[in-house]
Point group: C2
Chain length 383, copies 2
């Protein structure tokens, strides 16, 4: 435990702190930068020069109307100075995107996984990297999986792949001569939201994802919580409704049972006696179908309870919602808000619920974000 201390407090060169600050906080004045980093303007000039010369940063000309003295030249990163690849692995598919330094998506491709053998999966990743490669090389590759990852290198446990202790980073690095970082999918998404998404500017916030499952990530003190616990999907079976349906593990009314796409479809299908798609469920509810409405309203209430629990116990005031299973909020947003309010101290700050516009930052981009973050620590110095 105590050795974590030292590891956590990893040294960061001042020039990478500078680069990171500019990357996250967009075009930014040197004077502001100096204050943020606790450095003098003189030092800032000296630190910035090699980054400007190296083409990582540029001075942008900002015409501030009515300003008196010499006009400021804020610093900004040249977003496409580097290119990254982000890969999200699920049980049957690999989705890859290329991104620039700001995690903005370039091109995208996906491939089915022929098997769960490490060699096959690596081959697919290599294939995707080759397909998406252009004249610019990848500075780093990020890969995210649902499950536990240690040290950004080894997949300790990935249920959907049936993996335990698989050295994925080494295997991919052996083929593509590029640094590879592996991370849990929700941790990666939280990291992306923190630097590039709705969590930008917040020191503490939580990320909840709803889709095939429920994911939960946490950023505290401007650091993503990425203990071994983080990869377990601990928000996935949180008890929310003692009268709700069962999940596949037998929990009654847990977050998986109340919120996921398969469970919502399943509930409606059982009641209607026929198969329905998730989109159909939303349609039915929109048209006043009582079954669909009941199920989605219960989901809204459950999500509200989950958000309140997260806000209370993780002590965050901002919660980012993401994932493809949030469509029900169009129908049950009011139920969610009411449930949050009910479980929240009236003296407490209202929970700030931020809705990630359907996949603005995708899972694969999250993987790329991890690669970007880890790379930033060394980018300033070397390549």
């Amino acid at each position: 435990m105590s050795s974590v201390d030292a590891a956590e407090r990893r040294y960061r060169a001042p020039s990478s702190e500078l680069a990171r600050e500019v990357l996250i906080h967009g075009p930014i004045l040197r004077s502001v930068l100096a204050q943020r980093l606790g450095l003098s303007l003189a030092t800032l000039t000296r630190l910035a020069r090699p980054l400007l010369d190296g083409g990582l940063l540029v001075e942008v000309n900002e015409q501030l109307e009515g300003a008196m003295g010499r006009p400021a030249k804020p610093l900004d990163v040249v977003a496409d100075a580097r290119q990254f690849l982000g890969v999200k692995l699920t049980g049957d598919t690999a989705v890859a995107v290329t991104t620039d330094l700001r995690a903005a998506e370039g091109s995208r491709a996906s491939r089915p996984l022929p098997s769960h053998e490490l060699a096959d999966v690596v081959a697919v990743i290599v294939d995707l990297a080759r397909e998406l490669a252009n004249e610019q090389e990848f500075s780093a590759i990020g890969i995210s999986v649902g499950g536990q990852v240690s040290d950004n290198r080894v997949v300790d446990r990935a249920p959907f792949l049936g993996w335990r202790g698989v050295p994925l980073a080494d295997a991919v690095e052996a083929q593509l001569k590029v640094p590879v970082m592996v991370e849990n999918d929700v941790v990666a998404l939280a990291a992306a939201e923190h630097w590039f998404g709705l969590g930008r500017g917040f020191s503490n916030f939580a990320v909840l994802t709803v889709g095939a499952g429920v994911g939960y990530g946490l950023v505290m003190h401007d650091q993503v919580v990425s203990t071994s616990q983080a990869g377990l999907g601990l928000g996935g079976h949180f008890p929310l409704d003692p009268t709700g349906p069962l999940c596949f593990l037998g929990h009654r009314g847990c977050s998986t049972a109340m919120l996921t796409i398969p469970s919502i479809r399943g509930q409606v299908e059982v009641a209607l006696g026929r198969t329905v798609s998730y989109a159909e469920v939303l349609d039915l509810a929109q048209n006043g179908n009582p079954v669909a409405l009941a199920v989605l309203r219960a989901a809204g209430t459950a999500l509200g309870r989950l958000i309140a629990a997260v806000a209370n116990l993780a002590m965050v005031e901002h919660v980012v919602l993401a994932g493809e299973g949030l469509g029900f909020l169009e129908i049950a947003r009011a139920e969610m808000d009411a449930a949050i309010l009910a479980d929240r101290d009236p003296e407490a700050v209202e929970v700030d619920v931020l809705l990630e516009a359907s996949g603005f930052i995708s899972w694969a981009q999250g993987a790329a974000a991890v690669a970007i973050q880890r790379t930033m620590d060394t980018l300033a110095a070397g390549g």
Copy 2:
């Protein structure tokens, strides 16, 4: 929000980091220290000298049997080089303790509060400080209150005192010429557990207190979470049992209703039709009384659920339990353990529940710990 960034990243002089490390990690070799702080041995020698000369640190002679070379002289703090005062304010009493640098209790005194007027409360604190003062001056005074505190100076809101925006630190400093720090009581306790108590050596853990109310504190990334949220008692009304009794706010089966001393007494009293003390309830249960047993077992289950929820959503694997209302665990420990297990992913690490032996670190010591921590940042340099 973004300004928090800079504030959070408060600069700490290397010599105070050194002093802090020695304070927390007891007698410690220079070589270990150098590694932890990421400094060379040479630098360590230089940093340590003024602290040794100043009498804050000493070299202890440790006879390691069978060691080959020159024997190591680990560094340690001179615990009684400084003296601190910790004061805990409740609605009707002020409890004060003197402590050394390691938050070990010296002497203790308490006084009733004649009123909630700031002047009266300050007078009581000054009185206590004078009574407990000996030849050694206080380096700093810590005061903890139940409620929200900003900037370690102003009590924004303290329900038990009926305070809003009371500049307590200024008021006390005006009378006693000693630095005063104010903090929320649970935040202070968490800080004390982190440096001096059961949380020592853990980067992430939660603190739950059970007594007249339920308190909840969190340490993440080796920092106590002390946002404005932290002072609200957000763990205090967490829903735990949909069939439980009501709390004074009308929540059914919330943590207050299930766990606090008044609520447990109340439940038993209603059933038995007579007044009973908390100790009596424990006695009754010990002797097989079905009412007392039912109430305490439900409390055990509820506490287990709360612990599991905390471990899942705050992503901690260690939970420190403290407070005078934990007696029921003698009867219902098994129920607690079972409830934790039930709400926990089987793949997740077992939650490490640490029981603070009845008041080993008291509320007032927690207040002192805050004073110690804040003082350490400047101790090394100046006085």
